[in-house]
Symmetry: C2
Subunit: 600 residues, 2 copies
């Protein structure tokens, strides 16, 4: 059973991602090291003891739809109530609406724990938090007064309605429409798919944020507006009014995250008449300005993508814990260096076999590397909010640069680690009751939603590398080189880490230069052809660099030997891949683009 | 829907794996090129039209157990009858028992098609073929006379009973026991798990081959005997007699291959009294000699492992077909070089996006590379049976060398390609009705069973590299170098293929030398630490080499341009990984073995 890895989480937050330094200079007000520890510990207790035991039933039972009502798995409504009453939903929300206004880093660490316990369950608050952020940033005072406090407390949940059957990665072609009702409100019509927690039985009201197009809107992405559409209208006194004209038409039968209802939502087909006037359409309220809906979405996209990255970290952590525990208990064969066989039926625990150890160490390194990247991204977001002027702009660029890497590398790691976890279990890994297979099934969606990892790669190469004319990425590479130099003068137990890391950073730098030149030279297709290997290269180098940063952090907590060994394993076994990734970026485009004919 | 890729299959058999040359010198009797084509075409027709349409219902419905009876999915018993009446079960079986004694290559190609259509269904004949082979090689004349003809026709199916809860990869500790009954027969007692198609409703009788231990047997693997245990005893006239004392206790709830019943079988607990004498135990007949059971298993292991490799090829092929078809139809965004957007809502088919093309090309290259490796392995098996003396020994070594690579590389490719196939589908890939997720769920077992891929790597490094004191692998490397030299003087459209391939082969050679020296130097743990990356390196080099062999084969069938483009993509985008894999073998062991402490 999952136990929150509080030591790894706290260490990474403080000594790798930068929280400790920020606390020391009072960057986050009176937030103290002790309070951080207390929050993490309590989140870990809830995730391990309350949430994790209900993860498996959520997978087995799934969400069920009957007569337009969605029933979540046994025990989940109570779990949700207990969770929100713990105040977890408003960790980073504005204090004016009942939130605690804590740094995102803490929420990201908590999200990791919720997702390790049950990714399907954690999706509900993840979506609500995104809706809170969009509303807090762009909603009118009236909308915020009516909705935000209940959403911050978690009494009402939120959803994001973007996708339509024809419009997934390309939102410019969405067809849902909005009409002006004449009283300042709107009427919404259309069908939205893949709406996470679009309907359920765990909250009194559900606040949908819906992208739709006004009749006189320009074509494409410049003609999309954002609307708030509550499941139940809200009376002036804050009590719930009539049912709005939106309902859940069906829920998807998915590979994983079975407990999370993935809904097709129908707006404005006349099933309900909320205004009592016969006027058709779901009642909606504009968020932000007309035709500026996509911009509203973009302001929250960094956080949402990072939250999905945390799903990758979380599932990787849970899968690793399970595989390590199994590999210590299960005995098969006799490993060459194993001395204790006579006590165990002539066999060794399989963790003693080098091949199994390699799988476990790879899982551990990818998990810890992904965690560090995501926490560092959260730190940059926090710093951009707690600094001003050029410094804030610099941190915002850092967050923008790291976001696609965090989302893609961590979610790919989630899939790879979960798959290795099955392999470690042997035949038992394929049996559903073992629980290892669920991690792969759950993890598999994360590289897809909230912008596929291919979309992330395009974002990284085409929009993030050019930030400050390439200055942002150049500055970041300098920081990475400083880490490598610190390693070079550090513990001899780090083996070849310094030279391996230098080499990997040089590969990243060369690939970066090549991509920037390809763009300025108008060779866009070539740049796009290398985007995915480049993104992977970036994540792998960061894994090596952040593990090294942790390994040389002199904090005297007794964990040094483990961190050094993990760092060295990553440097001497995983980083060798950077040369191949660089090569794919720089030399792979011609044969890829020429290969179109193979598939014609 | 899956269509058998007859062109790729026939080309690879004939011009890459060696069938054409063998036919030309009459190596397989009067088997002609035309007959090969006719057999492939008919198999393709059955797989595409009859079998594939029933694959999805098999996944959805699964096998069900009630009152000790297993019901297979709707339509499967009829499908099985039609299939065996087509003569497909006995393609390679001895003519004396109704088989057609055709080369294994043809059966392997047919297995690919059955597994593409439905891996869960194809497992039934796969296991029967293994049982036929074990019985034909080691059974007494009496046993063969009673059982073989019905098994070759497919009227009776076969199973392999090896695994017990405590004994998976390590069969030496199995506990099922056999007692001598005093009349030359035996009584079998024990529990076996993960028995594929151990009980079902598609055949009149089920012939179990069971590993068990006699009371006076030596400990470990030298004390294991093999027994034939029929579900129904067979009367002297060949009719079915009483029910034997074996039954299916439960079936597993698995990640994939839902239509294939994975059974826990109980032997000799007294539920049935087949002898009518009150003497306990399931009636069993010795196959081969007492305590030599594992040797009997080993003779069929090459074929069984290759058959599992074909599952990887097969699922990869089906997943690739599905993804390519989707990527041609689905439109999102506008690709830089796409001219036809005005006809398609301003969007491009996603296959036009370089990132999607990269995924599809990677899928295609891994599929085609795995196919070539597996067919080459089948060819070596065939040649070892159709040659004599030193030549036969040489071909047997080649088959032995290739088997672990074929099994592991193809099954890893199956998982990787199926996972990429989901990614290509975006959100739809995660919805079960789309069908892309099933391929990942099915494929995930293949790297585990029939010897995990980690076990294959140990076999490759510790037992196969030392064949002929390293002479076998050295000779094989020379043949690969000859391919690279042929490329160097071939079509300029092959780009950097020749130099990339030379470099990759050199990496493989260096890693090989290092591993052989590690073994002779007594550094066993270091050799084992590098076994998995070495095995991957081997498969990747073979992929590059066999795609190149196909690309330079001058057969004038019009497919040259496609083969050249695929070969070049693999050489310039995939082969770069060989340097990293070599590095892991040669330089990765120290940090891996030192990392044990991280997990303690």
């Amino acid at each position: 059973m999952y136990r929150a890895p509080l030591e790894d989480i706290a260490f990474t937050l403080k000594h790798v991602a930068g929280l400790e330094a920020a606390l020391e200079i009072g960057r986050f007000g009176d937030l103290s090291d002790d309070l951080v520890d207390a929050i993490l510990e309590e989140a870990g207790r809830f995730a391990s003891n309350e949430m994790a035991p209900l993860g498996e039933i959520g997978d087995r039972q799934g969400a069920r739809l009957a007569d337009g009502k969605v029933t979540t798995p046994d025990g989940w409504p109570e779990l949700y109530r207990n969770w929100r009453e713990g105040g977890w939903n408003g960790l980073t929300a504005p204090e004016a609406f009942g939130g605690q206004n804590l740094p995102h880093m803490l929420n990201v660490a908590a999200l990791e724990m919720w997702n390790s316990a049950s990714m399907a369950f954690a999706l509900a608050p993840t979506l609500t938090m995104g809706a809170i952020e969009a509303l807090a940033s762009h909603g009118s005072d009236a909308l915020k007064a009516t909705y935000l406090a209940k959403m911050v407390s978690g009494e009402w949940t939120g959803t994001m309605n973007l996708t339509e059957p024809h419009a997934g990665s390309d939102l410019g072609v969405l067809k849902s429409r909005a009409e002006r009702a004449g009283d300042g409100t709107y009427r919404i019509f259309g069908q939205k798919i893949y709406i996470t927690w679009g309907e359920h039985d765990a909250a009194d009201n559900i606040i949908h944020l819906v992208l739709a197009r006004l009749p006189d809107a320009p074509a494409g992405t410049r003609g999309i507006s954002l609307f708030l559409v509550p499941k139940f209208l809200v009376n002036e006194d804050g009590s719930l009014g009539p049912r709005n004209d939106v309902f859940c038409h069906s829920i998807e039968h998915k590979l994983g995250i079975h407990g999370s209802p993935t809904c097709t939502m129908i707006y404005g087909d006349g099933r309900f008449d909320p205004a009592g006037s016969g006027q058709k359409g779901a009642v909606g309220y504009l968020v932000g300005e007309e035709n500026k809906g996509l911009a509203c979405m973009f302001t929250m996209m960094n956080n949402a993508r990072l939250a999905v990255g945390m799903q990758g970290v979380a599932v990787a952590e849970a899968a690793t814990q399970k595989a390590v525990a199994f590999a210590r208990e299960r005995t098969q064969g006799k490993a060459p260096a194993w001395a204790g066989a006579e006590k165990r039926d002539g066999m060794s625990p399989i963790i003693e076999h080098p091949d199994v150890l390699r799988m476990l160490m790879t899982m551990k390194a990818l998990t810890q590397g992904s965690r560090a990247i995501c926490y560092a991204c959260a730190h940059a977001i926090d710093m951009s909010h707690h600094t001003e002027g050029d410094e804030a702009r610099k941190w915002a660029e850092r967050a923008a640069l790291l976001t696609p890497v965090a989302k893609s590398f961590a979610t790919d790691a989630g899939v790879d680690v979960a798959s290795l976890g099955i392999q470690v279990h042997g035949g038992m890994g394929f049996i559903e009751e073992t629980g290892a297979a669920r991690y792969l099934r759950d993890a598999r969606i994360a590289p897809i939603y909230e912008g596929t990892n291919g979309i992330q790669a395009i974002d990284l190469v085409m929009r993030k590398l050019p930030l400050s004319s390439g200055g942002e990425v150049a500055g970041f590479l300098s920081e990475l080189r400083e880490i490598a130099e610190r390693v070079a003068t550090s513990d001899a137990a780090l083996g070849e880490t310094a030279e391996r890391l230098r080499k990997a950073i040089a590969d990243l730098e060369q690939a970066t230069t090549w991509l920037l030149e390809a763009q300025t030279g108008g060779r866009v297709a070539e740049a796009l052809a290398g985007a995915t290997p480049y993104q992977r290269l970036f994540g792998l180098v960061l894994t090596g660099a952040y593990l090294a940063k942790g390994a040389v952090a002199d904090v005297g907590d007794g964990g040094e030997a483990k961190r050094i060994a993990l760092c060295r394993f990553a440097a001497e076994n995983l980083l060798a891949e950077t040369a191949a990734l660089k090569d794919r970026v720089i030399s792979g485009a011609a044969s890829l683009l020429a290969a179109h004919a193979v598939l014609s």
